[in-house]
């Protein structure tokens, strides 16, 4: 007898609450690791709490969101320190449900769990710390918004979903987190849904991601079924052992997973949603671009890195990854040159930087790619918050309404410049170290088997460094220098918004110091402590040639920007057209990707194809049904009209006439007198009996 309650029992079948320990830290660190499930759960619980009681709290739910993200930040930093002291890699699994067996394979187990290793701790830290600053800032930015409370509920869901994803030790949980992030992004991008454009952007983001998710689903299913387990550790075990079944499907699985990653990390050609996602409030953009959503793809590739790195597995996908990354980093960077919206400049710069990370992953540089993710999170978060502060001050996104703001908004100006320099990769800020490492990795890969693709992407990346510096210089000059061109009086943002700027600015300065080639290797060590790590390339000494070249490109970009935009910022738009006549329309139209998608895919599906299907339904299929009905009616009309009314009815009518006559005679017998009826009854009975006796 197994009662109902058994459905609620965790780990029903014998110690399924499993613990995979690769490197057990033990002691307090071990305790921290085993309670790390709180990291994703606390923000999710906060989400529900905010929805339910948020409005009644003094700060309308903000305190719950802030508290939960602060908890995550503190916990993550504690884990980071513990990991620093003694590397750890721990997985916990709790069985949710178990479907007896897949044919020929093991049981299908639905699990929930959490993995605490260098990679996930790094991501926890990024989400927690950047999130903490952004949440703080958002209180000032969103003050007075109609849906303040709901905003923070979605925000917590956003962070919580990302943490679920990062903490996932199995692929199904990863999908759960992945989709939670997606839906939270939908809610946040479309936060001001009174305007249909914002909602359209939200839908665009969601649908684009959903298209890519087809890849993720397919990849996860292929891997999970082939290996017989959805645990990432089991999958990577099979990869490490060179399992032949896995090797057969590895290419397709790897490609499919990467397509999923391309969606979330907005790689070409799935990049179109990210610039539009600017429709959301600026803190959303900040968190989305820095820590949560777009990093998920890179994280996924990092988490599954051995699959791509092991020879004979999905290593053929790497060349695709590196090319996609290379194309994205340069092409989207170029678009940033022609944007007038300050947030769009930053958005395209994010795309470009994500291209760097992806290219690094494709070049086999696991550490370099994730290091850039790490540093980028801080300075890109900072840049968005600063941009938000500007927008808050001048009530416009358009840089042609700005100018000369350095006098009005000193804190914003200074932090924005710090962020821009970090992004441009100027020594010794964070961006320098990570970008340099990527260049070095690409260079190494070009020599080590990446071949022409890696070489090509290396040059694209170096060119990209110039472009990056150029558009950031342009943005800085247009926004903060020259004369103020907008209306009203710009003002510095309140303290609650400026101190997160300074906090992140500090991190943007120092974040690179954890991994200076030849000097420090803390970051490398963090990432090395994981369940499966495969030999990636990591530079042990500074590649002076590339460092100098990269820096020179960046300085060149800044110089070009200064030359073009410093003095005569007012006529900037005409200059764009003058200077790059061929490229400009192409860039302004974003290489016509949106046109292609809207007119080539979405439009036809929503329009002619959908209408055709409905036409099929209403005319063809229902036509068949109606034809049956009509045929039945015709047949009935024939049967009734001819055979019945004129054929049989002729006889019937004659009979009826006779009956009528007879009836008028016989009806006299119907007197209504009970006793006559009774008499007839008895007489009839007698006659019947007599009849039976005679004829029976």
């Amino acid at each position: 007898m197994t009662p109902l309650l058994h459905l609620f029992a965790l780990a029903s079948e014998g110690g399924e609450h499993g613990l995979d320990v690769v490197t057990d830290p033990g002691g307090f660190a071990g305790l921290l690791a085993s309670w790390a499930w709180l990291i994703p759960v606390v923000p999710l619980v906060a989400t529900f709490a905010i929805v339910l009681v948020g409005k009644r709290l003094p700060w309308k739910g903000w305190e719950l969101a802030e508290g939960s993200i602060a908890f995550v930040a503190v916990y993550a930093v504690a884990l980071l320190i513990a990991n620093w002291q003694a590397p750890m890699a721990v997985e916990h699994h709790v069985t949710l449900s178990r479907i007896d067996s897949l044919p020929g394979l093991g049981d299908l187990v639905l699990e929930w769990g959490w993995v605490v290793d260098g990679l996930s701790i790094m991501m926890f830290t990024v989400v927690g710390v950047v999130g903490f600053f952004v949440f703080t800032y958002a209180k000032g930015y969103m003050e007075g918004d109609v849906r303040f409370t709901f905003f923070f509920a979605s925000f917590s869901l956003f962070a919580g979903g990302m943490l679920v994803l990062v903490a996932a030790p199995n692929l199904i949980q990863l999908i759960v987190g992945w989709e939670l992030v997606g839906v939270a992004s939908y809610l946040l991008i479309g936060h001001w849904w009174e305007d249909h454009d914002n909602n359209a952007a939200a839908i665009k983001a969601f649908i684009t991601n959903k298209v890519a998710d087809v890849g993720l689903f397919v990849g996860v299913i292929i891997l999970g079924i082939t290996v017989g387990s959805f645990r990432i550790s089991d999958v990577l075990d099979a990869v490490a052992h060179g399992d032949s079944a896995v090797a057969q499907v590895a290419f397709w699985a790897g490609l499919a997973l990467f397509i999923g990653a391309m969606g979330k990390s907005a790689q070409m050609p799935f990049h179109v949603w990210l610039p539009d996602a600017m429709a959301g409030p600026t803190p959303v953009s900040s968190l989305m671009h820095a820590a949560t959503m777009v990093t998920a793809g890179v994280y996924l590739v990092g988490r599954m890195f051995p699959l791509y790195q092991t020879p004979g597995m999905a290593d053929d996908v790497k060349i695709i990854i590196v090319l996609v990354g290379g194309a994205t980093l340069l092409l989207t960077g170029l678009i940033a040159l022609v944007q007038d919206d300050i947030k769009k400049v930053l958005a395209y710069s994010t795309l470009s930087q994500l291209g760097y990370m992806t290219a690094a992953m494709g070049a086999g540089a696991y550490t370099a790619g994730l290091f850039h993710l790490f540093t980028h999170a801080f300075f890109k978060g900072l840049l968005f918050l600063a941009a938000g502060s500007v927008i808050h001050g001048v009530h416009s996104n358009d840089m042609s309404d700005m100018g000369g703001l350095r006098r009005f908004m000193p804190s914003t100006y200074r932090t924005f410049v710090i962020g821009s320099l970090a992004l441009a990769g100027i020594f010794p800020l964070a961006g320098f170290w990570s970008k340099d490492e990527i260049l070095a990795s690409l260079s190494h890969d070009a020599g080590a088997g990446g071949g022409a693709a890696a070489t090509l992407v290396l040059w694209l990346a170096i060119l990209g460094a110039f472009v990056t510096a150029f558009y950031m210089a342009r943005a800085v000059y247009l926004t903060f220098f020259g004369e103020y061109k907008g209306e009203g009086h710009p003002h510095e943002s309140p303290r609650v918004m400026t101190w997160p700027l300074w906090g992140l600015a500090g991190l943007a300065v120092v974040a690179g110091f954890v991994n200076m080639p030849g000097l420090t290797s803390s970051f490398t060590d963090w990432l090395a402590s994981r369940v499966h790590v495969m030999g990636d390339h990591h530079a042990t000494a500074l590649n002076w040639g590339l460092a100098v070249l990269g820096t020179a490109m960046a300085l060149g970009g800044i110089a070009a920007g200064t030359r073009l935009f410093h003095r005569d910022a007012a006529t900037q738009q005409e200059r764009d057209r003058l200077r790059i006549p061929v490229l400009y329309p192409l860039l302004e139209q974003k290489y016509y990707f949106d046109h292609l998608y809207m007119n080539g895919v979405v439009g036809p599906i929503k329009g002619p194809i959908a209408r055709f299907v409905v036409w099929t339904n209403q005319v063809v299929l229902d036509g068949v049904v109606h034809a049956f009905g009509a045929a039945a009616r015709l047949a009935s009309r024939f049967v009734y009209g001819w055979a019945d009314q004129r054929g049989i009815d002729l006889a019937i009518n004659a009979a009826a006439a006779g009956t009528g006559e007879a009836g008028s005679v016989v009806r006299r017998a119907q007197t209504g007198k009970v006793q006559q009826y009774a008499g007839a009854l008895f007489a009839g009975a007698v006659l019947l009996v007599v009849g039976f006796l005679i004829f029976g």
Binding site: G672, Q675, A678
Partner: protein
């Protein structure tokens, strides 16, 4: 005693009852005739019961049921008669032709 004597008596009483039902005009008398028919039926039932002599005593039990139902019938029948009389100031059956359409 043979069974037939009871059956023939029953038939005779029943026929007399039939005659009464057919010929009487007053509704109360019609009901009385029906009682006569029911009594005849009871005689037949009990006689058959004694003839078959089964342990379940179906004949007698049926007779009892018939008596009960008859009592009910009389109750309702008289009520209807009273109602008709109240409405029409007459209890004559042949003045009622509601069954005619």
């Amino acid at each position: 005693m043979i069974v037939n004597q009871f059956l023939v008596l029953g038939a005779l009483l029943f026929s007399i009852g039939v005659y009464g039902v057919l010929v009487r005009r007053n509704a109360v008398l019609v009901l009385l005739s029906i009682e006569l028919m029911l009594a005849a039926v009871n005689i037949n039932l009990v006689a058959f019961g004694a003839f078959v002599d089964d342990a379940a005593a179906a004949g007698q039990v049926f007779a009892l049921f018939v008596i009960t139902v008859a009592a009910a019938e009389v109750g309702i029948g008289l009520a209807i008669v009273v109602l008709i009389f109240r409405n029409r100031s007459s209890a004559n059956v042949d003045e009622l032709d509601l069954m005619k359409w």
